[in-house]
Amino acid sequence: MSKQKNYIALHDTGVIPKLSPELMLMKGKAAAYCFEECGFNDRQTLRISGCFDDSLGVEWNSLSEIDRNSFSDNQESTEWGAEAIAFIVINQLTDFDVISRSYKSTGFDYTLQKKDCSLFQGEIAKLEVSGILKLRRDGDLMTRIKQKIKQATKSHQDIPLYVVVTAFSGSETGVHYVEGN
């Protein structure tokens, strides 16, 4: 099932071809910042739970002081970091390995589509992402996943949905798949 490499570099801007290298680098650095904030250095193995039972190794270059300062807004950094992990997880573990972008007032809206499809044609799915920097209780990850599913299925009932939530302190990513009607 897994096409996983040993460790995927968060600073590798070519991991997701559809995203611009500059933004992928920023999101990758945000993920590295979140791991470092949780006391991890250089590399970490994430447990992938939910509809997968797998693991994913990620590594990163230690962040400079300047980088650390730019990511000091924990909430935004956690969101960006979680996006970087979600893109990698989706690309590594699902058939939906291309991410299309469109814009929404809350930021980017990511639509997953199969390879070789253009402009939202062909089989598509939605991607909802969320991140938790530090878990406070055991059930936090599952609670967040349930919240995201509830929120996303309000408007996306007729297409499949992936919900990917990363808890950085617990080194765990929950992936849930909701079939469309």
Partner: protein, 378 residues
């Protein structure tokens, strides 16, 4: 043809990514000008499919272009693009998103002031949403928010006048110097005017704190809160008690996302009409930590510092210790709840003897440090 359109769309998205990075670095003007460039490209991509029935591409591109226009404050353009999107054959999920965005775009009109001139001592508060119609609003949605805004104004006046010194009760001097009057509600969808002055007050020359400055200060705080710039807000307020007071009160003003989806404020600053809107929805506290255990005390088994959500009747206030403390009766157990000083009078007191839900962290065996409190719906 699709490849060409996709190429234009990708250029637009690349520009937006650049704009996001610039915004992250704090270069807002540069970011906006790149967003505008992105908008032109995304609109061109969408318009290329205007007469084609290629879905969901057509409607997604219109939604995306409209979102950029909305973010840039180009509401009329956004409205037009959303209508174009809906005029095609969008799949249900895209149509829902188009409608949601249309609602947000048109809500901005509720902030307009119709037929009323706002003076420097006045501001308009308006509501829109599910149960709030044109000129009509459920009473409880209205009164609770009006009272919270009144308290925010007076607490801000107190903070400015007393140079950050906090007092649990709003001093009489503040209540006298900054009285609050509200106008008859009007249709806008539902709006009232607040006046922070005695109606016929003329003498403004020696004002210690000009009313316009006070209103501006409150609106700036509300805007920072809406943008989630909490660190900046904390620095601006620069007092733990006042920050906690503001956080507790603004929670009562926030839209609930169902009956009220927008609370807007319109005011004058430097002879220019300005608007701030709250779209962020209030976190609804829910009991999630119920588990089967021998003891009814829900704190047993939790560590100090663990988050806890508790429902019960707010019964007693204990003033015998330095820290404000209340007691909550939940299933026959009396929990001690430490309340932030800034919230005891304005946020907690109105809920005495009512069924409430509190969110906080465990301190001791039966003691919780309160973070948030809400009246329970049942």
């Amino acid at each position: 043809m699709l490849k060409e359109i996709e190429s234009i769309h990708n250029q637009a998205m690349d520009l937006i990514e650049q704009a996001q990075v610039l915004r992250f670095k704090g270069e807002r003007d540069k970011s906006n000008s790149i967003m505008l460039e992105a908008f032109e490209k995304e609109k061109a991509a969408a318009d290329s499919l205007k007469l084609q029935d290629i879905e969901p591409s057509r409607s997604i591109l219109y939604r995306s272009a409209a979102s950029i226009a909305y973010e840039l404050g180009m509401n009329i353009e956004a409205e037009r693009l959303l209508c174009q999107g809906l005029a095609g054959n969008p799949p249900v999920w895209v149509a829902n998103e188009l409608r949601d965005l249309y609602e947000n775009v048109t809500q901005s009109r509720h902030l307009e002031v119709h037929g009323v001139h706002l003076s420097d001592e006045e501001f308009q508060m308006s509501f829109a949403g599910g149960l709030t119609g044109y000129g009509i609003s459920p009473l409880e949605e209205f009164t609770e928010r009006v009272d919270a805004v009144r308290r925010i104004m007076q607490r801000t006046a107190q903070r400015k006048m007393y140079k950050g010194e906090y007092r649990i009760k709003i001093p009489k001097e503040i209540r006298t110097k900054f009285p609050t009057f509200v106008s008859v509600p009007r249709a806008a969808s539902f709006a009232i005017t607040f006046k922070i002055a005695i109606p016929d007050e003329q003498l403004k020359v020696f004002e210690e704190l000009p009313k316009g400055e006070l209103i501006s200060e409150v609106m700036d705080c509300i805007e920072l809160y809406e943008k989630n710039e909490l660190k900046k807000l904390e620095e601006k307020i620069s007092s733990d008690q006042y920050f906690s007071n503001f956080s507790g009160l603004i929670d009562k003003v926030l839209p609930d996302g169902e009956n009220v989806s927008l609370v807007g404020f319109t005011y004058n600053k430097d002879n220019e009409e300005k608007a701030v809107s709250l779209r962020k929805t209030r976190e609804k506290l829910e009991i999630t930590n119920i588990k089967e255990q021998d003891s009814p005390n829900i704190l047993l088994g939790l560590n100090t510092g663990d988050e806890v959500v508790l429902k019960g009747i707010l019964q007693v206030a204990d003033r015998s210790i330095d820290v404000p403390l209340i007691k909550i009766n939940s299933n026959g157990i009396l929990y001690r709840v430490l309340v932030p000083e800034g919230q005891i009078d304005d946020v907690v007191r109105p809920l005495w003897d009512k069924s409430v839900i509190i969110k906080g962290t465990k301190q001791h065996k039966k003691t919780i440090q309160m973070d948030k409190i809400q009246e329970s719906e049942d």
